[in-house]
Symmetry: C2
Subunit: 330 residues, 2 copies
């Protein structure tokens, strides 16, 4: 998994579908030589358009499928571009549910050219079942009211903020985009159910007493599809500190118009209650709010109101930075 990357967006129809590429650009801009878009692509992640040859000339070693789409499969007509990248000497990395090698033309090209096909969503190792035994070091977990509300960005921003203070910190990736950013991690939603917490225990092992793991959460305890993943991750991470992530304009759980969002207090209390199984000393650190859909004035007003209501610091790392959360650490 060697940067730099050429980010392939295919011909996806909106910006959200390119969120994997967007995450890499936001957090590892130095690793990106450009974007490769097919005709009709409606996403633009604000980096130069590059052909395969141009990207190779600038040192790109890996073509990254920087997209998510429901179902996790790849349109057939993307295969030609991927084969061309392989023929130009690149490896290929994908976060889709389907494996790159399931496309015969891609597999054949990779075999022919000795290219690596990295399906970061698929665990390459086996795990033990969890034990809940206390580990050394400190762990901060980003949990959420819903999917896609800022947990990954929050964990990455905490890593950066802690390191900026000279503290020891590592982002721990639990999803495909996070893995591409960290070059390691486990896509916990793709692990066999019996091993969710065990995989997270492996991901966040014993560490120095003053070291912080900044663990990316997944889903929400209040999402009917994914709460099992969220709970296994919560138990496996055995967090010392929780950061609750929220997107305040959302009107229902992602993908489920019939399912209301939990209120912040219920969501935080439930996470704390269940986290105590593997760490009785868990405590809330603060709130991380994705205010990107609010005006600046609205955002500041919301942060103040929610901070007063919950009696916890509230940040949006794009707007305020993370200092208030770092300051809240004991």
């Amino acid at each position: 998994m060697q940067p730099p990357y050429l980010l392939f967006l295919g011909d996806v129809q909106d910006q959200l579908a390119a969120k994997t590429a967007r995450g890499i650009v936001d957090w590892r801009p130095d690793w990106v030589v450009g974007q490769l878009r097919l005709e009709g692509c409606k996403a633009d992640i604000g980096v130069p358009d590059r052909s395969i040859d141009e990207a190779r000339g600038e040192g790109a070693g890996t073509l990254v499928l920087g997209v998510v789409n429901s179902g996790g499969t790849m349109p057939e007509h993307w295969a030609g571009t991927i084969v061309a990248a392989i023929e130009a000497g690149m490896d290929v990395m994908s976060g889709l549910h389907m494996r790159l090698s399931d496309v015969p033309a891609i597999k054949a090209a990779a075999d022919r050219h000795g290219a690596e096909l990295l399906d970061v969503r698929h665990p390459t190792r086996t795990f033990r079942t969890g034990t809940g035994k206390k580990r050394t070091g400190r762990r901060i977990l980003a949990v959420g009211t819903d999917c896609s509300c800022g947990k990954k960005y929050t964990a990455l921003a905490m890593e950066a903020a802690l390191r900026a203070r000279g503290l020891k910190a590592d982002f721990r990736a639990t999803g495909q985009t996070g893995i591409m950013i960290a070059t390691r991690g486990v896509a916990v939603d793709a692990v066999v159910a019996d091993f969710i917490s065990g995989a997270v225990e492996w991901l966040t092992p014993d560490n120095d007493p003053d070291h912080y793991d900044c663990v990316e959460g997944q889903g929400s305890l209040f999402h009917p599809a994914f709460a099992g993943v969220s709970l296994g991750l919560l138990h496996g991470a055995q967090p010392d500190f929780l950061i609750l992530c929220h997107e305040p304009t959302r009107t229902h759980m992602r993908g489920l118009p019939h399912q209301p969002l939990p209120d912040l207090e219920t969501c935080l209390e439930t996470n704390l209650q269940l986290a105590r199984l593997t760490n009785p000393d868990v405590r809330p650190l603060g709130l991380s709010i994705n205010t990107s859909n609010l005006s600046k004035d609205e955002a500041h007003a919301y942060l103040k109101a929610v901070s007063d209501e919950m009696n916890l610091p509230a940040v949006d790392h794009f707007l305020t930075g993370m200092d208030a959360l770092v300051d809240a650490l004991p």
Copy 2:
């Protein structure tokens, strides 16, 4: 998956390791022609010992690996017996984590003789992610303070008790032994984590308004290894009624000496609290206690005490039958 079965116990060293075979004998005695044990086997499930040829003569079509072992793998020296069964014309069914076809000699024999190799723990289909949308019909879910405390037996006993009253009921299997008993189901602990609740939604679909699904629970919300599975199953089953299962002599969570058991009230309340996400009307039906480690007098005293304390009917189906729980249905 066609009965009758010859139950293969290998040379396991205790009765507990034969609990899959025991479950089949307890619930589907008519499907069992006998047990096949290797030299040194210390388990005996109380059915006649039969050779492969004898079993074939009595109509057995399937050799069932009726054992569980930690790790879910098969000792190499069992392969010869399995190959002999295939050569005698039998199919083979296993609930182990490893696949039968991963043993080259078994795969070759099956290919040669056209035998079916059934790994019931491995889903043979894909699932959608859960939605939490309300389905028709009634659902009873057996939940537990721990693993292996009677959830499967409770769900099977409820199916039998409801049918004995002329009511429509189906046991819904969520683990390997249950699947062998029901000849269908999903081993939810072997599903990819993203699809736990979706798999259970598929398993317990819309049904007649007066039909009961009796759903086998898995693990416990208070087990650090498996709570994610338990929560996804709870959300996917969207139960109308919970039966809390408990083994009163257990001193710690199964396999984890450092992990205490939850008290019954906390366990029931937490299950109800989290179940409300997909069924706000969920209610407790009663307690199902595995009193097999108590004397009869102790057992009756315990059932009365716990029933008074929780203000719910308490049964042990071997001791009291399930009538008190059926009577508690509205």
